[in-house]
Amino acid sequence: MTEVKDLGVLMQGNEACAAGALAAGAKFFAGYPITPSTEVAEILAAELPKVGGKFIQMEDEIAGMAAVIGASLAGLKSITATSGPGFSLKQENLGFAIMTEVPCVVLNVQRGGPSTGVPTAPAQGDVMQARWGTHGDHPIITLAPASVKETFEATVKAFNLSEKFRIPVILLMDEVIGHMRERVQLPRAEEIEVVERKKPDVGPESYYAYKDDETGVPPMANFGDGYRYHVTGLVHDETGFPSNNPERIKKFLDRLHNKLADNADEIIMVDETEMEDAEIVIFAYGSVGRSAKKAVKELRKKGIKAGLFRPITIWPFPVERLKQRLGGVKALVVPEMNMGQLVGEVERVAAGKVPVIPLNRYDGELITPAEIVAKVQEVL
């Protein structure tokens, strides 16, 4: 028998996200159409019912986010997809999901902003909104994939982190990643790690919905499973009921943040290229990370010791990982498709010890490898 070579499939980033959601066990999508994320809704409208899942197009973005939280509370892994203007509307209930610790995945395929901006052009303008868009001090996880294959992997990871840590995970893509087609070989189902939320191991009579079990992440019962409990967006104690008690408020908020801080190593993913002896470090993420990789190659050819530090997890920001890489580094170049957002975090880590040079483009065009090469040469 001749062996048939698996050439993989030609796939768009948005398609890979939908495929990743299905592979991770997603059974519910609620959302509202918006360019450039709509393909995800369209694909899941067709595919979810095939696996017994549910799809609903809601009346608005706010309702899409709300329905996703409701379905997750009732036990289904849930996802919504949007772009900038819709992401703004989702912030209200995104905060609710953080506060009530309901797992879900929110995809934002970024386009040019502010406001309705440039619907069909890429941007990285929602980086700070992903971090601070909803009000109040809150933790968040945000992943920024740089290729179609990585979009698949990041989507699975987003579900896994969300279920494990009971927190919404934002998939921050951009129009380039969303609409670009690449040949990918997706892993087989048995090769994919799928994480399920931790269920209570006690009976309903001794279950406290928000009681820490020493891991920082309370076990979660689904509505309808016999554990009757209260869920509220008000600050609550371990019983789940509202509290104004200063000690309890602090205890609750500390746990909410510490569950990520204590597990940073598991959450933070960074892709490094030629970093061992790098004197010039390019810090880039998302589609710009691709241009940066090419730029590093070009620079090395020219004999310049350049390296790429590409965070896949941008929130929580990889503070420690970046800090460890600063020895011997002469400059950090930060290309972003915005007027300078994540560069502020890089500067905080560099703390004035290493010069940080931004490279910004906000005209709806992807930053090219040549532009990055030119910037590095200018710095040297």
């Binding site: 059974k27 519910f28 609620a30 067709a46 019912p49 095939k50 017994g52 549910k54 609903i56 809601m58 009346e59 608005d60 706010i62 309702a63 899409g64 709300a66 329905a67 996703v68 939280i69 409701g70 379905a71 997750s72 509370l73 009732a74 036990g75 289904l76 849930s78 209200e92 209930n93 609710f96 509505f223 309808g224 499973d225 016999g226 009757r228 409990y229 209260h230 869920v231 509220t232 967006g233 008000l234 009921f241 509202p242």
Partner: protein, 272 residues
């Protein structure tokens, strides 16, 4: 009396926060009596609420309870019901919560005819924030944000629900508590989107600025102004001036959303 429905309350969370003279406790009592009559399993029953005075009800009840964001209770409920259609879902909202910030979700839940039972505690005012006018404050009545009387016309919630596609619509008052229990039970039995408008009184926020403001007088007014649907049919438009109908206002079955979605699943799987 209370002993019959005590099992549905988280007794340690009582007394409730509602002001003396408020009608909400009566409506909550009617709701739990209806659930008693329906014999629903507490583990399979969900109470979802929005934000405001009425929405504190979820915390007092021993079911799966969800206290959501302002106006969004129906959107959250839609997700729950789709995920697990076997759950019985009651949605508690206030008039401002349901018809102002939540107005869009309300009309679309009705349009879909998703099997939720919405109970709108209508006290014609934003109570929790101290008495601002809502879309259901009658025209010319005063509120802290309408010191000269509101110039806005108020919604007729029942007409709105019917026009949007709700398959069961009823209206009762805190005075007509027994009727309210019947309406909520009927609404829950309806396989589709049911709306029960429960007229309540807010002596604190509404009554301080309008007449009558005394709780007993306000509840008497509910008695005087309410006309049963059957009796209203015999009255002229003139005779109905200043009055409103109570009872079953609309009861027209139609295919229910989650049941229809099950057919979508079957079709998709047959194709796959």
């Amino acid at each position: 009396m209370f002993s019959q429905i005590e099992e549905y309350y988280r007794l340690e969370k009582l007394p409730h926060i509602w002001c003396p003279g408020c009608g909400h406790g009566i409506i909550l009592g009617a709701m739990t009596r209806a659930i008693k009559e329906l014999g629903y399993d507490q583990n399979k029953t969900v109470v979802v609420s929005g934000i405001g005075c009425s929405s504190r009800a979820s915390g007092y009840l021993d079911f799966n309870t969800l206290h959501t964001t302002h106006g969004r209770a129906l959107a959250f409920s839609t997700g729950i019901k789709m995920a697990r259609p076997e759950l019985k879902v009651f949605v508690v909202m206030g008039d401002g919560d349901c018809t102002a910030i939540g107005g869009n979700h309300f009309i679309h839940a009705a349009r879909r005819n998703i099997d939720l039972t919405a109970i709108v505690f209508n006290n014609n005012i934003y109570g929790m924030t101290g008495g601002q006018y809502s879309p259901m404050t009658p025209q010319a009545k005063k509120a802290t944000t309408a010191p000269y009387g509101t110039i806005e016309r108020s919604f007729d919630l029942s007409q709105l629900a019917i026009a949007s596609g709700a398959t069961f619509v009823g209206r009762g008052t805190a005075y007509h508590a027994k009727l309210l229990t019947q309406l909520i039970a009927k609404g829950a039995r309806n396989k589709g989107f049911s709306v029960v408008e429960a007229i309540s009184q807010c002596p604190t926020s509404y009554g301080r600025k309008n007449k009558p403001g005394d709780p007993a007088e306000m509840i008497k007014l509910q008695k005087q102004q309410a006309v049963k649907v059957s009796a209203a049919a015999r009255l002229t438009e003139e005779q109905m001036q200043g009055k409103f109908t109570i009872g079953v206002l609309h009861d027209t079955p139609a295919p229910e959303y989650t049941e229809t979605y099950e057919q979508v699943i079957r079709r998709a799987q047959a194709k796959a």
